[in-house]
């Protein structure tokens, strides 16, 4: 009898526990940590670890743990990890999932479980028809850096551009994003094989066409190849090269001086001047010995946002509705230089910068800040989002 009573008492406590403050905050962090794309996961993890360290290992004053898992850039693995984080680890927050194809696969079980999800990607589906009250992105909508570049070149009065991208969904999205704002003549729209590593034949065509500007989307390792071969072909400084996702703190150490004088648009550079970023960059370089990328920046912001939100709900992270209500109201200064804010479809409201690649104080190539070229825009998919 006593045993039964104890059991009932324990059950009552277990059921009632959402009313009390949690004793520990668990954060599920799924990202790509192995393979050629693993460097993105490394930047995410290093920055998140730094953020948690600065908070004394606590989120909203409660002891916290970040549970990392490697999705191996495989959608099925990402989905399994999401399931196990929700059901086995019972995480209070989810984050990560940078690569759109993994995000789209792992997203449904996470939002269905009503776990607050502060994600690091903004694929068109999730900005649009798949949007959810449980998901907020602190990254960017995928098309926006290309839209910013299109707008910058249109505002600069350029009337001709030559476009290149790998032949897959993101390649087409980025070129379409560019064309949304750029109204000049498109000299050519070239899609290369996604597995291709040698662009010499396409670069020969570019040289012969001699366009006024080239816009290219080549993420990560493809960007390293493209920009290096651009310089080897003798095009560096001859034809202006404007890229997205190709020339950032992830790729520049491998590209080296071949990138000097080229342009890139994006949300973050370690050279953005504001006190939050200065402190972040200094701490990050001291701890890890390399410059933070935008992937580090958004991961850092995500942890700081979770901390602020947990404080606002006084540690009651199980109260999902209160957490969701707190996210848009949280007062978190991003390393990007503005407070975190969101659009109606839960994508970030932010500035997009034009960067010019130049030699930094340490002699390494770094994205130098030219100017803000696009601000506070709502993405093209917001109209498809019915938040419920």
């Amino acid at each position: 009898m006593i045993k039964t009573r104890v059991l009932f008492a324990m059950l009552a406590v277990a059921v009632a526990s959402p009313a009390f403050a949690a004793d520990k905050v668990k954060i599920g962090f799924i990202t790509t940590m192995s393979g050629p794309a693993g460097v993105v996961g490394k930047h995410h993890k290093d920055a998140a670890d730094l953020a948690l360290e600065e908070l004394g290992g606590k989120i909203g004053g409660l002891p916290a743990e970040i549970i990392y898992a490697d999705d191996q850039l495989k959608p099925d693995v990402g989905r399994q990890l999401a399931d196990s984080m929700i059901k086995r680890d019972k995480v209070n927050f989810m984050t990560g999932l940078t690569y759109s194809n993994i995000m789209v696969a792992a997203y449904p079980p996470i939002v269905a479980s009503k776990t607050p999800f502060i994600g690091l990607a903004g694929p068109s589906e999730i900005a649009g028809s798949m949007c959810s009250p449980y998901y907020y992105s602190v990254a960017w909508q995928n098309d926006q850096p290309a839209e910013a570049m299109g707008k910058y070149l249109a505002d600069a009065g350029l009337d001709e551009a030559y476009l290149l991208a790998p032949n897959y969904t993101a390649g087409k999205d980025n070129l379409n994003g560019f064309k949304r704002n750029f109204k000049g003549k498109i000299a050519a729209e070239i899609y290369t094989n996604l597995n291709q590593l040698d662009y010499q034949a396409e670069l020969s065509q570019v040289r012969a066409a001699n366009p006024k500007a080239v816009f290219a989307f080549y993420p990560g390792g493809l960007g390293v190849q493209f920009v290096k071969q651009w310089a080897q072909a003798g095009l560096q400084g001859k034809i202006p090269l404007y890229t997205v996702f190709a020339q950032n703190a992830i790729t520049l150490p491998a590209i080296g001086e071949s990138a000097e004088g080229n342009y890139e648009t994006g949300i973050y550079s370690p050279n953005i001047k504001n006190p939050t970023n200065a402190a972040f960059v200094a701490a990050y370089k001291k701890k890890y010995g390399y410059e933070p990328s935008e992937y580090a920046a958004i991961s850092y912001d995500a942890i700081k946002l979770m901390d602020a939100v947990t404080k606002m709900v006084k540690g009651k992270v199980e109260d999902t509705q209160a957490v969701l209500a707190a996210i848009p109201k949280a007062d978190v200064m991003s390393v990007r230089g503005r407070k975190l804010a969101f659009t109606a479809n839960h994508m970030p409201l932010q500035d997009f910068y034009l960067f010019k690649i130049a030699k930094g104080a340490d002699g390494q190539m770094t994205p130098g800040v030219e100017k803000v070229v696009m601000s506070d825009t709502t993405d093209a998919y917001a109209g498809e989002c019915k938040m419920k």
Binding site: T192, D198, G221, K228, A254
Partner: protein, 307 residues
Amino acid sequence: MNGVLALEQILNGLQFGVMLFLITAGLTLTFGIMNLVNLAHGILYMLGAYFCASLTVATGSFVGAVILASAATVLVGIVIELLTLKRLYARNHLDQVLATFGVVLFFNELVRIIWGPASIYSSVPPALSGQVELIPGLLYPAYRLVIIGVGLVAAAALVLLINFSKLGMLIRAGASNRIMVSAIGVNIDLLNTLVFGLGAAFAALAGAIAGPILTVESGMGNDMLILALVVIVIGGIGSIKGAFIASLLVGLIDTFGRTMLRPLFELFMTKAAANSAGPAVASMLIYLAMALVLFFRPQGLFPPRTR
């Protein structure tokens, strides 16, 4: 497309073609002479690239690194041959495919353990990082010209070796009638190992000189192996001449497919349709060529003479 651009694209096709030839040469020899389906050939290309990237940093000399990397890869290749492939010559092709595929998985993982999962980006040696103006208006990267030169010299050396040396005579004899060669007292085991080492040297050379323009990473040999198999099918199994001509053909078809199909399609379809159809067809063009060869001339364009 004007003349200068056409010439430049021919050079691009040639450069891709000679790289393919360096890889295919060893594969077609082992195929033709040892009757071995060796999926692990791409591994030697990858090892050549990894060794060269590391040795360039260690020795500071790119040329030295290329030579040392090729030598080191030959040693690894011979060890692979003695430990695994030697046992497979008498087995059927399915066993060979399974076993050599195992070797591929082993080495792809091993380089990840030794060199780490991140890709290695090496640079073109500074002396060759510029461009050469071949004719007015035709600027071509110096390093790629060197690749073409090295590839052609290697091909010429191989042709001389095969056609005018005693070893070459035995290799040709082995390709035509393996049993007869061993019956007249030639040490066929030693010949096999030599041929394998020769193939490894060429594949490693290709990997080493590809490193600075491509990405050195685990699995980089797999895509090249598929292309090499296409070349062998087109050229004829066991034929060096076939491998050479088919390599250049595949290089040129691929290059011109990538650059010419889209403008060609624009002549009779909308721009948007050409933008998606062009790259789609271009990526399968060499496989279409292979299918055509298989249909009209299943023995390949230049099969070796056999009795």
